[in-house]
């Protein structure tokens, strides 16, 4: 839902970032307001995951120029955990397995870290179990997954559902979902998309990184951006995604040449 007067949640200006001294992001500009859903598409290696990790604060990525303001303040002044507590959520493309750490305990610690920042009371083990049962419904996840170690031995699709469960528990302001749809079967895709739609409100915003129109049939984006060579090359409405489905990315090369980038 586009409302020009809605709060500007994320303001990315000319963002440059490197990994191992290799420039990856080369001037990203993007503004996200409350209530909006943005789809970010683009070829493999164009920098989509890099953008998401830079926003979440991964230590391997170095910001070399530009700025990001989150609800008015400098995002890069904040530690990764502080960003999370303030409502920045990253659903990972490849969620990490953490053997020996119980999923339930992990979810509780994470949820409480966010809750205390929101001024909500922290939940003890018992109250949390009730709370999490409710959220499990959002992704129709089997409670048995709570008893296991974080993501350990989860199938690709199960890991993605676990990400959305975390999103439901953390009640984010800006959720960045990096290819949450890949690896999901047709039913799971609907369930996960349903979950994301359920969690979207006029107060928060979602950045969906995806390769496929399938997801965008379920979650209607307000904007579609195409990333190429570390920048956002083109922005349009939902029609842009439909067009990409037909034409592919061949035009990207021409446009990069035209802009003098490649």
């Amino acid at each position: 839902m586009i409302r020009p007067d809605a709060e500007l949640l994320l303001d990315i200006n000319d963002l440059h970032a490197s990994v191992e001294d290799q420039p990856i992001l080369k001037g990203v500009n993007l503004q996200v307001r409350a209530g909006e859903i943005h789809a970010v598409m683009g070829r493999n290696g164009s920098g989509k995951s890099t953008l998401s990790k830079v926003l979440a604060g991964h230590p391997a990525y170095r910001v070399t120029a530009g700025s990001v303001r989150y609800r008015g303040s400098d995002l890069f002044e904040l530690e990764p955990e502080e960003r999370a507590r303030l409502g920045v959520f990253l659903g990972f493309q490849y969620p990490v397995e953490i053997p020996g750490v119980s999923n339930l305990e992990f979810l509780r610690v994470a949820a409480n870290a966010r809750r205390s920042k929101q001024g909500l009371e922290e939940l003890d083990t018992f109250d949390f179990e009730d709370h999490v049962q409710e959220k499990l419904q959002v992704v129709q996840m089997d409670p048995a997954f709570l008893e296991r170690s974080v993501n350990e031995g989860f199938s690709g699709g199960e890991k993605k559902r676990n990400e959305i469960l975390q999103m439901a528990l953390l009640d984010p302001v800006v959720a960045i979902l990096d290819e949450t749809d890949s690896g999901l079967d047709i039913d799971a895709l609907r369930i996960v998309a349903g979950g994301v739609n359920q969690l979207a409100t006029p107060e928060n915003a979602t950045l969906l990184i995806t390769h496929y129109q399938r997801l965008l049939d379920e979650i209607t984006p307000d904007y579609v951006h195409v990333m190429a060579a570390g920048r956002i090359l083109r922005t349009g409405g939902r029609d842009l995604a439909l067009e990409l489905e037909k034409t592919g990315y061949d035009w990207v090369d021409k446009e990069l040449v035209a802009q003098g980038v490649a």
Binding site: A56, G57, H58, P59, A60, E79, P80, E81, R83, A84, R85, L90, F92, P95, V96, I98, P99, G100, V101, F106, V109, A110, A113, R114, K117, S149, Q166, L170
Partner: protein, 392 residues
């Protein structure tokens, strides 16, 4: 049980120690050992006082025996059905047999124990009986304890050994276990200390066919520790599971030397050893697997996973595979790494502060082994013990 029968064993042990002298660096099995500390241990007088330490209440249904190397652990104890004490004649027959079979008779830690132990706790187990907990306490000086268990055919036993040296300066322990056919033995060793005392523990287990042995060791906080589980599958066809965790800090040296030999076909081994080394500490793992010609169709897997928690810590890990049989599956692997940046970041990205994330990962790494301890371990808060070691 009593000292009289042990007089000859003691004499032999003392003579052997004289003859052997201290181990040297030229001996492969002792190459990495801090010999100064070993020498200090060897010079300790035998402890004479009876130590006392506060113990947490035993878990319900668990039979707890306290061994201090001095008093009779069975004093005032009624053994449950299925558990009985070996007669002197029986003991004379079997004592040392498993050590022989496991190829560790005459080794330095065994002779040290022979020379020092004043008693042997020797039990026979039939059928399914109560879980057993052996708590070892000591006082200043060297405390030596020796235990022998005969787990009969089809019998099943859960044993937790707790060594917590808050008072003793050093502990020498030798355990011999014979598992009859189809016997089940779940065995835990929880050996935690505060950084001062030393530990020499040798655990020899003989397995008859179709028996199952699951051993979990958790070792933390000794100035010098050497834990040696030695297993022989006398006719193969048995199952052995070894899980080990060693957590070292400061300038501690913790060594785990395991040896599993398959003296027959179709044996199975599943082994995981983990070392977490912080400070300037040194963790050592040596994992011998012997598969002689007769041990066809053996299936063994050994994994050694190690975490270096500081730049000055050191981990030495070495598989020692001697495989002669040709139709054998033997997988092994070793990794040494630091806490994974991606795991830390994943936790941080969920609002968990960096230090808490690191602690959570370490708990997880320990828990992977600790969760396999027998149920009786719960009463001792094993995870908390190990984590205090890490946060010092």
């Amino acid at each position: 049980m009593a000292s009289a029968e042990l007089a000859t064993v003691q004499e032999h042990g003392r003579a052997a120690l004289e003859r052997l002298g201290l181990p040297t660096r030229r001996q492969e099995a002792w190459r990495l050992t801090d010999l100064k500390r070993l020498e200090a241990l060897a010079r300790l007088p035998l402890s004479s006082a009876v130590g006392s330490s506060a113990l947490p209440p035993a878990a319900a249904g668990v039979l707890r025996l306290v061994l201090d190397g001095q008093s009779d652990p069975l004093d005032g104890v009624a053994l449950p059905d299925g558990m009985s004490v070996l007669s002197t004649a029986e003991l004379e027959q079997v004592l040392g047999h498993t050590l022989d079979r496991c190829g560790c008779a005459g080794s330095w830690p065994v002779e040290l124990n022979h020379a020092s132990a004043r008693q042997v706790l020797a039990l026979r187990v039939r059928g399914v009986t109560h879980p057993l907990e052996l708590v070892f306490t000591g006082s200043a000086g060297l405390t030596a304890t020796r235990v022998l268990l005969l787990v009969e055919e089809k019998a099943s036993l859960d044993l937790l050994q707790v060594l917590q040296s808050d008072v003793a300066s050093a502990h020498s322990h030798v355990l011999e276990v014979h598992l009859g056919q189809e016997a089940q033995f779940r065995h835990g060793l929880l050996a935690t200390a505060d950084g001062q005392p030393s530990l020499m523990a040798l655990l020899a287990v003989e397995q008859e066919p179709r028996s199952r042995y699951a051993f979990t060791s958790v070792v933390q906080g000794w100035n010098l520790a050497r834990v040696e589980p030695r297993v022989v599958q006398v006719d193969g066809q048995a199952t052995t599971e070894l899980k080990g965790l060693a957590v070292s800090q400061a300038d501690q040296q913790l060594a785990t030397h395991t040896a599993v030999r398959f003296d027959g076909p179709e044996g199975e081994l599943d082994q995981l050893q983990k070392c977490l080394a912080g400070g300037r500490s040194h963790a050592i793992f040596n994992g011998a697997i012997q598969v002689p010609r007769d041990a066809q169709r053996t299936n063994a897997a050994q994994l050694s996973r190690n975490l270096l928690l500081s730049e000055r810590a050191r981990v030495d890990t070495k598989p020692e595979l001697e495989i002669v049989a040709d139709d054998v599956r033997c997988a092994h692997g070793a990794t040494v790494s630091q806490l994974q940046e991606d795991e830390l970041f994943y936790l941080q990205s969920r609002g968990i502060a960096a230090a808490d994330a690191a602690a959570l990962l370490l708990r997880g790494a320990c828990q992977e082994v600790i969760e396999h301890l027998p149920a009786a371990a719960e009463a001792w808060g094993p995870l908390e013990r190990v984590m205090t070691g890490l946060s010092q």
